[in-house]
């Protein structure tokens, strides 16, 4: 194997050699430089692979032929090999990416480039403190040179600020080093660490100076204005190097040197890292400039790793994996993003919509963003999961919380960016500035995207509870993604349905025998297939739809089949990502998808937080831990409950839902409304079953929340004129019932809950499918612009009517079963007041059901709807399959409810319901027989219908529109539609209950956060001198907090 010293010799020899060429042979020079970088990559790569197979052990490289400490020594071990490999790879790809720029700049720039990469290698390998200083200086100077590649005034300013800052820093570092030398008599890092430098006051000051300076090299918040300016002003190719390569090397150095300051110093490093992570991301929320935003994100991510480095004693054996996963994730994603930025050449993130003209880049962009936020299957997901688990296990709850808050803040701007890229208009001349004709610019980006996925896969063995089976559906989705651009939607639809069916068949055995899981699995999988069918009515390719839908369903399936919290969370995040991509497809969905994502991410972090306590309880990821939480159980359970409730859109957490469901595409709404929301219910059920005595208060509160959610949701629905939003609000209300029902924690309550779950799945699927179809056909969401469609779409009418009857809980359909169980449950539980509220809400449900049915199907047919036809069979067939389901459930409820009853009894929820053989269900209060009710009501209706037909046989049919309007064509809603503003009176009476107080609450919260961020970022005044002063202030404050006694 080639010795690591040759990395230095090769790079320097080459750099000096390029001097021979003067100003000529520039192309050759670039190729030489790249060849050099490739050779360096190979050297560290071969070492890395040798360390991985274990064929070599850690090597010490002595220079000058003397042993340390008398000469400088380098070390090549697994970590060094890995880090130098990353650095050299980024150097090679970064050099490839900058090919044209470097060629234009000339041979000197190439020398500087290769020297920079070389210096980072030495920084990683050296074990000599002063040698470290020299090569850190080389790195800084080379960076200051590369900042000028574009020779712009802004770059000059940034470069000067950078030089001033690093100048101050390195002077102080030198003072630290020389005193460390004088105390220990040695410059060897290992010897200094062994000498307990921190034992004396002066020694501690020296160690402090060294460590704090190396922290400052990582640009900690808020003393980092000089670093941010570099990110903003330099060529993005250089930004990628600074963020990925230099950042990585600096992290390694910090890790190497930190032990000098002693154990007691670690907590301060954690604080520094966390403050940087949270602060930088918070300030980033105000940023619109893409490169600067990437700078904030880079600094934040590096801060997170700094915190992890400080947590080494706490994290134990997981430390290396966590740190490395976070670093590799940052390196790959951030380099990729910077390079994309250089291709896009749009400073303002709102103009990044131009990415849509280049699908490969767009997908890479999305991969990078989701990797940075910590979505599966990327390495940071694994790293963050394990990090939070270990933190809470070791009682570092506050640290865990702050890390999650910082992650959320990062999500705020990252998802805004994604929204802009996916939804903003593409300006006509936008593609002119694109610079993607050159393969050398695009290829590195694509390689990074592939690498970050691969790195995720490689993380599996290191995380408790991670299995490679979780990647199987992802592989299928990637396959769909690959054929996405080529095949028409019909083919992809068939493939997707077949894939889901096969997946269901394969996965079912895992949960067979677990009735609760089977029910949800059935809803998710059968519901998934049924809700895919309406897609046959769509034309074209529908690019992006199928990967997104399958991602969501893969996530849902994983949630159900996972036996541990890791799998659950993995599925949860897949589901969140998939549903986000589905929701954002709607024409006006940008803002709604954004708020959906923010609530979802916040919810997911709460869930992760809660899972940490479960992990703490049993020391593993198994779901059983949920029942064993002993540390702060109320906090943990509350976090979990709120987390799950973001998906069930309970009161206060619901504001994303109406827009997200209402504006989604016609066949997406049933997916996200009828199917997706049940994931939250499943989570809550899982939680409730595990809470035990610790959950009583939580359940009581949630009962109230459920009741008010039901009232608010239904009341809001009645005031809606937008058909789909009405259904969306109705979902909120229905989920409120479910929450209320299961919060009772009794057999009857849960039985009612399950009934609602099944019913809501079926009728809301039907409603959203059919109404969605009608919305597309009529071209309007507004109820008052519809009317009289019963003649045009009788089958649709029947479907909606059946669904409405179920929803309103009227006999004979299964909705009534739910109500009956429900009232019995309420009375037995004694939650009378809440029960009244829910009862009132139920009445209101009847009102909007009537309004919708009436507005769409009765009344005057609109002039422009005269040519409408019945809805496509693609919509009607799944709708009628579901109607058959409702009918079956209505006639034979015991077939479904009896097994559930047995399950609930076995779960110790009490035995209060008895089933007779004829399907007669009895509680202590009353009894009910679904079959009998059905028979009686059907008979009555049949008789009435018969009678009506008999007596109306002779009536004359009056065509619509044969009454002339008196000279005037009506145009205002109230003149054309009776049902416009139908419940104005009600609105006047109790409408204040649904005044958008909650929306404005969240608006205020976000305004406050934004204002705060805006205030904080004023510290970045742009003055290089002030930045240098901030560095000094940082050191002083740090000193007096950490060492001032």
């Amino acid at each position: 194997m080639v010795g690591p010293i040759y990395i230095i010799a090769l790079a320097l020899g080459l750099a000096f050699f390029l001097g021979f060429f003067g100003k000529s042979a520039k192309t050759l020079s670039v190729y030489l430089m790249l060849a050099g970088l490739a050779a360096m990559t190979c050297i560290s790569g071969t070492w890395l692979s040798a360390f991985i197979d274990g064929s070599v052990s850690t090597q010490e490289i002595y220079t000058a032929g003397f042993k340390p400490p008398y000469s400088i020594n380098l070390r090549m071990g697994l970590e060094e090999a890995a880090f130098t490999f990353i650095i050299n790879l980024i150097g090679l790809l970064g050099g490839t990416y900058l090919f044209q720029t470097l060629k234009k700049a000339g041979n000197a720039a190439m020398s500087v480039f290769i020297i920079l990469i070389m210096s980072l290698n030495v920084i990683v390998m050296t074990r000599d403190l002063f040698n470290l200083f020299v090569f850190v200086e080389i790195g800084s100077i080379a960076t200051a040179g590369l900042i000028l590649l574009d020779k712009e005034s802004k770059a000059l300013q940034a470069g000067l600020k950078y030089m001033i800052a690093t100048g101050v820093i390195s002077g102080l570092l030198l003072i630290g080093i020389i005193f460390a030398y004088s105390f220990v008599g040695n410059l060897n890092i290992d010897a200094i660490i062994g000498a307990n430098l921190a034992g004396t006051t002066a020694g501690m000051v020296a160690a402090f100076l060294i460590v704090v300076v190396l922290v400052l090299e990582l640009k900690p918040f808020p003393a980092n204005g000089w670093g941010l300016d570099v990110y903003e002003a330099a060529n993005p190719g250089v930004g990628a190097l600074v963020s990925a390569a230099i950042g990585t090397a600096s992290l390694f150095v910090l890790h190497k040197v930190l032990p000098m300051a002693g154990e007691s110093f670690y907590p301060y490093i954690v604080a520094v890292g966390v403050i940087t992570f949270v602060g930088s991301n918070l300030v980033g929320t105000q940023q619109k400039n893409a490169n600067r935003l990437l700078g904030y994100s880079s600094i934040g991510q590096l801060g997170l790793v700094v915190a992890v480095i400080g947590l080494e004693p706490v994290l134990g054996t997981s430390f290396k994996f966590i740190a490395f996963a976070l670093i590799i994730n940052h390196v790959l994603a951030k380099a990729g993003l910077f390079w994309i930025s250089g291709i896009i050449r749009k400073a303002n993130i709102s103009e990044w919509s131009v990415l849509r003209t280049k699908p490969a880049l767009l997908i890479s962009f999305l991969i990078f963003i989701f990797a940075l936020i910590g979505f599966p299957p990327f390495p940071s997901f694994f790293g963050k999961y394990q990090l939070i688990m270990n933190l809470i296990s070791s009682d570092n709850i506050g640290t865990a919380a702050f890390i999650l808050i910082g992650s959320f803040a990062e999500g705020i701007y990252m998802f805004r960016w994604v929204g802009d890229a996916l939804k903003n208009e593409v300006a006509e001349d936008a593609t002119e500035s694109l610079d993607c004709g050159k393969l050398n610019k695009v290829l590195p980006v694509l390689l990074m995207a592939v690498a970050v996925v691969a790195a995720g896969y490689l993380s599996i063995p290191f995380v408790d509870g991670a299995y490679s089976t979780y990647f199987i559906p992802l592989a299928f989705i990637m396959f769909i993604g690959l054929i996405d651009s080529f095949l028409p939607a019909v083919v992809k639809n068939v493939v997707s349905i077949a894939g889901m069916a096969y997946f269901t068949y394969v996965m079912y055995p895992i949960i067979e025998g677990d009735l609760m899981r089977s029910i949800f699995f059935g809803i998710f999988m059968i519901g998934g297939i049924l809700t895919l069918i309406p897609g046959f009515a769509k034309k074209g390719k529908r690019e992006g739809f199928y990967p997104a839908a399958l991602l969501m369903y893969a996530g849902l399936a994983t949630i159900i089949t996972a036996d541990n919290t890791f799998g659950f969370f993995f599925g949860w995040e897949l589901m969140t990502a998939g549903s986000y991509f589905l929701i954002i497809r709607g024409k006006r969905s940008k803002a709604h998808a954004y708020s959906y994502m923010l609530f979802s991410v916040a919810g997911a972090y709460l869930i992760l937080f809660g899972f940490g306590f479960a992990y703490q309880a049993i020391g593993s990821s198994l779901l059983e831990g949920l029942g064993e939480i002993k540390l702060l159980p109320t906090l943990a359970y509350t976090a979990l409950a709120i987390g799950f409730m973001t998906k069930t859109a309970s009161l206060g957490l619901h504001i994303w839902l109406p827009g997200a469901h209402g504006e989604a595409e016609s066949d997406v709404s049933p997916m996200v409304s009828a199917v997706l929301l049940k994931a939250g219910v499943f989570g809550l059920m899982l939680l409730f079953l595990n809470m035990g005595d610790n959950g009583e208060t939580i359940l009581y509160v949630l009962g109230w929340v459920g009741a008010f959610t039901a009232l608010m949701g239904n009341l809001s629905a009645t005031f809606q004129e937008d058909a789909k939003r009405m259904l969306a609000y109705s979902s909120i209300g229905q989920l409120g019932y479910i929450l209320f029902a299961i919060s009772m924690m009794t057999t009857l309550g849960w039985l009612a809950g399950f009934t609602y779950v099944l019913n809501h799945f079926m009728f809301k699927s039907i409603l959203f499918m059919v109404v969605g179809g009608i919305v597309v056909a009529t071209g309007t969401h507004d109820l008052y612009r519809m009317g009289g469609l019963i003649k045009k779409m009788p089958l649709a009418f029947i479907a909606v009517m059946v669904a409405m009857i179920t929803m309103a809980g009227l006999p004979p359909l299964s909705g009534f079963a739910g109500k009956w169980l429900f009232y019995n449950a309420v009375i037995l539980k004694g939650w009378y007041i809440q029960g009244v509220i829910v009862f009132f809400a139920g009445t209101i449900a009847f009102m909007y059901a009537y309004k919708m049915l009436h507005s769409i199907f009765f009344g005057q047919l609109k002039d422009n709807h005269r040519n409408l036809k019945e809805l496509s069979p693609a919509i009607l067939i799944p709708a009628y399959i579901l109607i058959a389901g409702i009918m079956y459930f209505s006639v034979f409820p015991q077939d479904v409810l009896q097994p559930i009853n047995e399950l609930l009894v076995s779960l110790n929820l009490g035995d209060t319901l008895t089933w007779a053989a004829d399907g007669n269900a009895t509680t202590v209060l009353s009894n009910w027989n679904g079959n009998a009710v059905m028979i009686i009501i059907v008979t009555t209706f049949a008789l009435v219908l018969l009678y009506t037909m008999l007596i109306t046989g002779k009536t004359k049919k009056l065509e619509q529109f044969n009454i002339a309007y008196s000279a005037e064509r009506p145009f205002r809603p109230e003149t054309t539609h009776y049902s416009h503003n139908m419940f104005a009176g009600l609105n006047k009476a109790i409408g204040f209950l649904v005044a958008p107080g909650i929306t404005s609450f969240w608006n205020n919260v976000s305004t406050m956060v934004m204002d705060f961020a805006g205030m904080v970022r004023r510290i970045y005044s742009g003055n290089g001198q002030v930045y240098a002063g901030q560095i000094i202030v940082y050191i002083i404050v740090f000193y007096f907090i950490a060492l001032g006694k």
Binding site: F130, V134, E137, I141, A144, G145, S153, K154, L156, Q157, A158, G159, L160, M163, I164, G167, V168, S170, G171, L174, I175, I178, F179, Y181, S182, L187, G225, L228, D229, E232, A233, Q286, Q287, R1017, R1018, Y1020, S1021, G1022, N1023, G1024, Q1025, A1028, G1029, I1032
Partner: protein, 119 residues
Amino acid sequence: MDQYLGQVVMAIGFILAILGLYGLLSQKNMIKMILGFSIFTTGVNIIMVAIGYVKGGTAPILDAEGNAVAKFVDPVPQALVLTSIVIGLGVTAMMLAYVMKLYQDKKSLNINDYKDLKW
């Protein structure tokens, strides 16, 4: 008799370093800031050499026969300072080059005029 030579020189070093830092942070004129920086590094260099001083020591150079004639001062800090001086020159020269270019751009030496990048 020269009991405190080391301390005196080191004190000078610290004072120069602090003064230089003060100049770097307080002067608006960029050239003067760089002068401050230059003084700061000079101060640090003096500190380094002072660290290696041994009371009554002579330069660490042996006589022609290669015998140590007297007590030596520590050669290590001296070697380090050589490097430090050169680095100082490199950094100073680069800063000045930056200032020259910036001046061509805005005709101002005031650091406050170069705040195009912020927030």
